[in-house]
């Protein structure tokens, strides 16, 4: 009844290669964007602390709300097509994609990290203060490590959820997995099979991300494993 022709994808060496390159590009763009997004997100979370100057706090808060309440495509098109004109600077679409991913991820991460920071037990803060800690050391050495450990699972699932939206970078010509799919289906007209295969690739890559990130957990937070 169904006439699946997956071999229409495998038979061409070019198609397979495009898929591999696409997967590679998706992987590293998401990873690097994710890492920078995490750093920026941590900063944004810290900027929302009560002790920060109110203007800066408001700025961080607005940024997070704007990103979280607008779609990634819009942000990406703005970064890729709007920002270069606005700033009168030129950069590659790769840089745009990376920037868009970073800016997008950071807002979601910051919200999660902030919830971790907010849930720091009062006793931890009092203990650090009673030992003579200054705020800066308290945040860096006590609050942040504990908060990150607590929200790590949420960060991982958010990261994977966001990874699944990165296919949109193909829209600005980044040769990622989705781009590879379009490339192939434009040539073999087997859209159905191609996107099924693509879905499987995305799924296995999410799986791989989860595996890697959960593997890092023990290394990153050794105290947790010992409980």
């Amino acid at each position: 009844m169904f006439d699946f022709r997956f071999y229409e994808i495998w038979r061409s060496e070019e198609f397979v290669q495009v898929l591999f390159e696409g997967a590679f590009n998706s992987f590293w763009l998401t990873t690097v964007g994710g890492i920078f997004g995490f750093i920026l997100g941590t900063g944004l979370a810290l900027l929302q602390d009560k002790s920060v100057f109110v203007g800066l706090r408001l700025l961080a808060r607005s940024y997070v709300e704007i990103i979280r309440n607008t779609p990634f495509v819009v942000q990406m098109f703005f970064v890729a097509f709007g920002l270069p004109i606005l700033l009168d600077m030129q950069w590659s679409f790769f840089a745009s994609a990376l920037l868009a991913i970073m800016l997008n991820f950071s807002a979601y991460f910051s919200e999660i990290i902030r919830s971790g920071i907010d849930s720091t037990p009062k006793g931890q803060i009092e203990a650090a203060y009673s030992l003579g800690f200054k705020k800066y050391d308290l945040v860096k050495d006590i609050i942040l490590p504990q908060a990150l450990e607590k929200v790590y699972p949420s960060l991982v699932s958010q990261f994977v959820f966001l990874f699944l939206t990165t296919g949109l970078i193909s829209e600005i010509g980044i040769e990622d997995i989705t781009w590879a799919g379009r490339f192939i289906s434009d040539r073999n007209f087997r859209d159905f099979e191609v996107y099924l295969v693509l879905s499987a690739i995305y799924m296995s890559m999410s799986w791989m991300f989860i595996l890697i990130l959960n593997g890092c957990r023990r290394k990153l937070f050794p105290w947790r494993a010992e409980k």
Partner: protein, 247 residues
Amino acid sequence: MNEATNNSIVIENMNKWYDDFQVLKDINLTIKQGERIVICGPSGSGKSTLIRCLNHLEIYQEGKITVNDVHVFNGMKNPEAIRVEVGMVFQSFNLFPHLTVLDNCILPQLRVLGLDKVKARETAMTFLERVKIPDQADKYPAQLSGGQQQRVAIARALCMKPQIMLFDEPTSALDPEMVNEVLDTMLELAESGMTMVCVTHEMGFAAKAADRVIFMDAGQIIEDSTPTEFFENPKHERAKEFLGQIL
């Protein structure tokens, strides 16, 4: 007033409110260097709040607190300076769960005292030996019993070489069989001549170690006497009731 005295802590006419509710009323208390004070009283009497004001964990609205000849007040520039001289042990231990026992003792020395790692480690081990758990140094707090955790907390505070130690109900969160190991550590510390202020219901400890027992009720100090006096002949009705309940 500013010349050095041998008073560790001086509290004068101190009042504190939470919003409209007055938690501490007209507190006057002088604690000399090397004195061991036990503060007791029913829950909600303000005893924890009182000692938390001493290292500026809480602010007070009226009166004056002087710790080691430094005025402690709301808005003071550098509360860290006074906190280094005042160690504190909490009811719920408050060890840093993400650091090993050893690092719990080392990190504050690095960050606050600015010591180097080798020196800090040496000090940490000295005090862990003193509280008799050097063998647990590389474990995480969650792997230790409550009594062990509290002893680490004491060691961590001592690593900062404080001149005064505050204990905020250090044995209240412990299983009964672990109370004594912590009290023994405190007794030993008392014998070493440390100035100690302990909020505790452990009257055995008070009898053995305290120079004075202070009884608080409803935010006021209503008795300030030697342990013998306090146990044998409490002046106030509330103190009698309290002793009746606790002994």
